[in-house]
Symmetry: C2
Subunit: 676 residues, 2 copies
């Protein structure tokens, strides 16, 4: 390259801002690479992938899921990657019989077919059910419990309404669905129904499918009710991989994440007669949904019968894994994954994201075909059985744990993608990295930088903490790998986990031009290119330290509110600040780093894990035990305080302090190894 051109490019690059991990000159070369990568993803190919992968119901364990895995395999190989299917086995129960009656009323428990959407008439749809519900045949009066979170039961108690021995009816929303039957069982309920209220995703929101995007009268949200607060992955292989034919398994009796009581999701069409039959006091105003009835707490005069059996089958789980080996540091892995299994056709969830992975992989594949080699190894994954409990990704993490602990630089994850703003959650060490990704990524609709809109919502820029809900959990919360979850967050209307999450629905009501799909492939390509090519892994710790300090302040305030004296963690937090500053001082003149930079993240693992759930080991965040998907930061301390466990809170604060001290030490070590 001629000097003038290089200077011109350098000036241009400077105007675009620095890139973490790269020298000024390195950034120029990086931007040249990025512009080639970003040119590859193609909206028409996204559309074609979606059509193909969402063409039939392909729930985990089904032959159709295997077919989708094979489609992805072919695509990745065609793109020039080394790709394989890595199969596990897991407990994936399908429903055998479902009955819900009240006197003469028998619930429909089926979603109608619509001529307007041929996919709604597909064969082999999984009936509406909640995976990992207990089998059972219970008959009892019904009580309405609103969203079924602990405060709802406190309210019922104040009204003198006891759910012991009752069946509860909860509505979807606010908490993750698996929390609802768990809390119900903790309060003595013997069965749980979960329905989609039209206020939350039905006609109150707009026209219902097929006229509009929202949930129709008999549309149902399927979904897992595994107790994911304990651990994720196959319930019978906690902490180890469930390989096909492998001997090591728990019995169902030993498993800790199966739901204790029968639980069934139902439509508002089926819920209405049940709610209408309730007696008792009127529910408070914020408990009332949009059904044309007075919402009462119950119980009603006529008992409800809920009878469920499941086949408790062990079924194959097919992950698709593709790689482009690194040239400089082949044993440092930058990973991007998205699940491919769906509850039914799953055009939005997950195919919209899975299609983007295929296009991101193709972008690198195209360059790879020309002889280009990444510095680090790129790994692309399409996970199976996410819907049942993040099973494909978790088993893979558990199987490869020792290797991942050494090699995994960072894990990027996406899932459903839609027409909306970019959503971001991440490990704090990636705050700066992601701000630069947002700065250099374009809004698919306007072509403008994504960053200003994100700064309008929150300044300084700070991605949210990672909770649960997609395949990053094993990487982040169990293995201590820095993680990112991203995607354009469009409305999923009212088709989530129903037979109507189809290509036809997605085309009409979401990213019908597939430009957000292309946009996600580009954001991912940019992220992977920088994470894989940066001479120094682009972690940054001063902003991580600020985020962690903020989390601590919240927890500390909670402790003060509850009159709990926590041990002082100021020394550890100060040491973290000092380490971060020292790292930056060395970084300013450094040209190369070592794997110690990304290994810092491992220091944040709690040796004993979180109280009562040792599988979760991340000191910074975890999925809440009573929120489900929602992240709790410094969960060991926070949840101990919330549950009134004072001594445990103190012990957890010590463990947190130790983790932060370890983190600071690891950052010092990484700084020491930075080289000019």
């Amino acid at each position: 390259m001629k000097l003038t051109l290089l200077l011109l490019l350098a000036a241009a690059a400077c105007a675009q801002g620095p890139i973490r991990g790269f020298s000024q000159e390195g950034a120029v070369r990086e931007r040249a690479l990025e512009s080639k990568l970003l040119a590859v993803p193609d909206a028409r190919r996204i559309e074609a992938h979606m059509k193909a992968m969402a063409s039939e119901p392909h729930h985990a364990g089904s032959p159709a899921s295997r077919k989708v895995a094979e489609y992805a395999l072919r695509q990745l190989r065609a793109a020039g990657l080394e790709a394989k299917i890595e199969t596990f086995e897991a407990l994936l129960p399908y429903p055998q019989s479902r009955l819900l009656t009240m006197g003469k009323f028998s619930a429909r428990l089926a979603e109608p077919n619509f001529a307007e959407d041929p996919d709604s008439t597909d064969r082999n749809q999984l009936p509406t059910y909640n995976a990992y519900s207990a089998d059972g045949d219970v008959t009892a009066p019904l009580v309405y419990v609103n969203y079924g979170v602990p405060e709802d039961y406190e309210y019922l108690k104040k009204q003198g309404i006891d759910v012991r021995g009752k069946i509860v009816l909860a509505r979807y929303g606010q908490s993750w669905r698996g929390v609802k039957p768990k809390v119900a069982a903790e309060h003595g309920a013997i069965g749980c129904l979960i329905y989609s209220d039209p206020k939350d995703d039905g006609y109150f929101r707009g026209d219902v499918y097929p006229a509009g995007a929202y949930r129709c009268e008999y549309g149902v949200q399927r979904g897992s009710v595994m107790d994911m607060s304990i651990h994720v992955g196959d319930p019978l292989s906690p902490g180890f991989a469930s390989e096909p034919g492998g001997a090591r398994r728990l019995t169902r009796g030993e498993a800790k994440t199966l739901m204790a009581i029968p639980v069934l999701p139902i439509s508002y069409g089926d819920a209405k007669p049940l709610l209408e039959a309730l007696a008792g006091p009127l529910a408070p105003e914020n408990w009332r949904g949009a059904l044309p009835i007075p919402y009462k707490l119950g119980p009603g005069a006529t008992p409800v019968r809920l009878k469920l059996t499941h086949d408790w089958g062990t079924r194959p789980v097919h992950n698709v894994i593709a790689t482009i080996p690194g040239s400089v540091a082949p044993d440092e892995w930058v990973i991007y994954g998205n699940h491919h299994d769906a509850w039914v056709n799953g055009a939005n969830d997950p195919v919209s994201g899975a299609a983007a992975v295929l296009e991101t992989a193709r972008a690198f594949g195209e360059l790879y075909k020309t002889g280009w080699r990444p510095r680090r190894t790129l790994v692309f994954a399409l996970w199976d059985a996410e819907e049942f409990g993040l099973i494909g990704s978790t088993e893979w993490v558990e199987k490869h744990l020792p290797e991942l602990k050494q090699k995994a630089v960072a894990y990027f994850n996406s899932d459903s993608n839609g027409k909306g703003p970019l959503g971001l959650g991440a490990s704090p060490a990636l705050n700066l990295f992601l701000e630069q990704i947002a700065r250099d990524s374009k809004d698919p609709a306007t072509g403008e930088s994504i960053l200003p809109a994100l700064l309008k919502v929150q300044r300084p820029f700070e991605p949210g903490p990672l909770g649960s809900g997609s395949d990053y959990v094993g990487f982040v919360h169990h293995a201590g790998i820095a993680g990112v979850n991203f995607g354009f967050s469009g409305s999923t209307g009212g088709v989530y986990h129903s037979i109507y999450d189809s290509f036809a629905w997605y085309k009409r009501f979401s990213d019908g031009e597939f430009i957000y799909g292309r946009g996600l492939a580009q954001v991912a390509a940019l992220s992977l290119a920088r994470m894989s090519e940066a001479p120094i892994v682009p972690f940054e710790f001063t902003r991580a330290a600020a985020t962690i300090r903020r989390y601590w302040r919240e927890v500390d305030k909670l402790a003060a509110d509850k009159n709990v004296g926590l041990p002082n963690v100021a020394a550890a937090l100060d040491e973290l600040d000092a380490a971060a500053r020292q790292f930056e001082a060395r970084y300013a003149t450094a040209g190369r780093g070592t794997r110690e930079v990304y290994l810092t993240e491992r220091a944040l693992l709690l040796p004993d894990g979180l109280p009562g759930r040792p599988w979760y080991r991340n000191a910074i965040s975890a999925p809440g035990q009573y929120t489900g998907y929602g992240a709790k930061t410094i969960a060991g301390v926070r949840e101990s305080l919330e549950l009134g466990q004072r001594q445990q809170a103190v012990a957890q604060a010590r463990a947190f302090s130790a983790a932060i001290a370890n983190y600071a030490a690891a950052i010092h070590a990484a700084a020491a190894k930075l080289q000019p």
Copy 2:
């Protein structure tokens, strides 16, 4: 009375607190009188009155309304009072034809009969309509305008939705019904429908009638849509009485309070198909009611036809007036009224309050029969045609205006009464008086003083300002007579102005034991006894001044927010404080007062009235032009500011300042006449 007894009673009276207007010894005698009065009202008699007066539909102008007036006349005479019926004539239009269609849909426009409530099957029910709606036959697309207040039209405008030439569909609530078609017409709409959304008083609130108290699918709220912001009373006799056979009348063309466009109230059963047919954008979340549909703004594809004719009849209005002449000051009148006309049977509205008037009158009548005489003259009134526009009371005020200006000490008003807390609105000079009434009145359910509960809601104790909605308007806003509006405010469920406001409904869902009816009769008896017997009329001005100053601060802040420089009224407010203090200083040693004490209230009349509506003359409060019933304090200034009329706001502030200066001068004059 022996001295010991007197001393004992004095000690007891002292423990019960002083009574405004009475010496310590006078208070002892007063309490003895009060205990006799309070023993008279009887729940069983309240029940009997209600059964009798609510036994058939008795809308104003009907023979049944005359029958109810005659019933009250007999009761008052039997109680020993001088009583008569004073008849006026007014324009009381009844509906002739009503049609509402959209394509093949034809609205039912009728309330179903229920076997559970024989009154719902009564003959001679007035059909569902809005009195003073224009006649018309309009066909146009429909637009949903939420509550139909000005801000709703601003929102529609921002969405690009123009109501010119359209029919609008508004829901009941937030603003008084007559404001809705008025605002609609101001925005160019050619017709208006008003429906009762189930969110506001239907199944969202509880079980619907006859299972529960709330509005059933085809229940309709009748009501007047006279433009009461201009003036109340007969539209054809503004400011003067419409006596039978009287020659002086406006033509309908000259009347200013008739609605310009056709308007019809409908049920949610009839509104649902109309709303369902609307296209256009989804209405914002706080516009959506509880019908099981997506609420859209419209317009819809199919035009709506609204065809209405009315008979425009002039009909008799029968007020019942009863008196007990005063012994010391027969030309000072203490008045208590409640209307007797109803839209249909009206057990709650107004019979629950009218029955209390009869029992209050009987309490005084019983004493009167024993030879007791009140100091001042007591006047009891049962007004007719309140529902059409406060017509009976207003015509009476207009007829007797010169006499009332001299003689009226205060006007007490009640209306619907129910099972709930005591509600109070009043002229500020009665703040202290009413605090003592509340202190010495017992909650009908608990037997405890009413005051502590009121102080929990607002401290210091301060009754709200008087707006509109019942018969005090002519007295307070036109004649400048100190007013009180009181009643126990139970929920009216969803039967307001429907055929279901029946004795059966009231017995089941409101004050079924009639103890709140007795309670109202007792509160009224206590109030009248003190207002009539106090040697010094029990007005108090320091707290009045504080209330008025607070109102001014609100208006002043509004002016500052709008960058309007108002003339300084501080001097007038300071002078009011000084006058109030001087009055108190003299009061401390005074034993008697003159009529100048109550005539102070006249000084608050604005000589030119409010902008655009000279009939309304009260400087302190008025019904809002765009709220209807809701009071606007210092309305001349406040509404000028709200409407962006800066110069008018300045002029109104001057007028307000002058009124306050007059008020201060009148208080000085009253103070000067206080005697030992």
